[in-house]
Subunit: 258 residues, 2 copies
Amino acid sequence: MSTDAPVGRRERLRAATVDEIKAVALRLLVEEGPEAATLRAIAREMGMTAPGLYRYFPSHEDLHKALVADSYDRLAAVLAAARDGAGQVLATEARMAGKPLVVVQLVCAAKAFRDWAAAHPQEFRLVFGTPVPSVTHNLDDPAHAAGMRFGAVFTEIFVRLWAELPFPVAPEESLPEALASQLRDYRTSLVDLFGEAAGDVPLTAIDVFLRAWVQLYGLVAMDVFNHLHFCLTDAGPFFETSLAALGRDLGIEYVPVH
Amino acid sequence: MSTDAPVGRRERLRAATVDEIKAVALRLLVEEGPEAATLRAIAREMGMTAPGLYRYFPSHEDLHKALVADSYDRLAAVLAAARDGAGQVLATEARMAGKPLVVVQLVCAAKAFRDWAAAHPQEFRLVFGTPVPSVTHNLDDPAHAAGMRFGAVFTEIFVRLWAELPFPVAPEESLPEALASQLRDYRTSLVDLFGEAAGDVPLTAIDVFLRAWVQLYGLVAMDVFNHLHFCLTDAGPFFETSLAALGRDLGIEYVPVH
DNA sequence: TCGCAGGAGTTAACAGTGTTTGCTTACGGC
DNA sequence: GCCGTAAGCAAACACTGTTAACTCCTGCGA
């Protein structure tokens, strides 16, 4: 987002310009479509010329990547806010009475994900659509790091869900070893992020959780990308029944929010 | 694909040129990436110049749409072939003994879908990735019609699955009316395609089936688009456990194929 | 306070894109 | 065999991302 503690006036002005470039680019991308966010259009909007932008971004693609990273971060913030608002929902909505907080948090985050996608389809495409040409998911890519921060919101809730409300799963031995070893590595990275509690989650539970995430992604992506048009005109109610089914897989009872 | 019964020599030559343009464009798109399939590059490859292509396609975007439609049709043909090969699988693979044919057909088709996506990632992007700018899914769009032909392979198997092996579902009344009405319309269109048998499928079963399709799409799309890289390096084994879970939802027992 | 290094921004240009216009050429149907 | 029309081309237009060379200004160090 913004750099930390710019020392001199020069750096401050520079950071402000970087932010303005990204803001204008995002506005063009959202309002006029992805192909409208050309360097010349962005520069024109800012009262300068295209080559000047190269003082701030080494290429158009790098600017694009910065927009992806920022969108990831905004989405992560929205999800975190929804999670943190779950307590309020739990306190005010009558039918929520007695629900475990972590369950309400998961439902709120899932709904916030869909709502964000519906409200910001262009940004959703930007982030979750076809990646740029054969994207080499470099670990030092800022967009990749931002993607991890986004995913952490869901996984953190899930780790807590398992700690508080474990659901019955098959024994780990039932998994093919080729999958088990991958999930073990993934679980190790979760321990680094969320502490020892993550180490207690069985691989089969992670398997179920990943499937839930795939389901959530698939549903929202097909909706935004118009791949559900062949059968549904409004995917909203279908999202409800899908959340309910998803809750059954996770051993929790789904209760509609809002 | 190819026109039906070209009368004169002129039309025959023309159809051959159209096919060559699409073949060259697809080859460039697959081998050099989507942005390499420019009109000039295609024309150069064919020993002609870019404006000449306008005799065959009114715009670059129309050529693109034709490629989408063709890819849909090729995929549909692959799925149909996998379905028709299920009898052979049933006869030769020992552990398949006693399985209902329709179940093997569904599994074969699902696996063929993933295998095709893995073998043709660029074509998968072409068809299932971010659609062209705010795609207006016109009913007269050939790509849309091809998409319906593709979907029909899965839905036909599903209608037959229900007729032969219905699984327990919740009563239709449990669905929110906003969803039920949409599913009713969709079921009516299925009756037009597959006959009266489709009319007997409960709306709740269609709800389950759609969710299965969303799961399948989400899994394959996330794999091709590299959105599973954060947790898996090879999505193959995860696809297996997902197919098993998917089978449970449909009340069938999953048996690995090949 | 002053001088200057270096950052910011410009113009001009290049190679590429999709697309249109006007032209020539060649060939299939009458 | 002629003719009309389809096929294809060269040139041009308005774009795109990107580079090079240049000017100007300004914030910083002495």
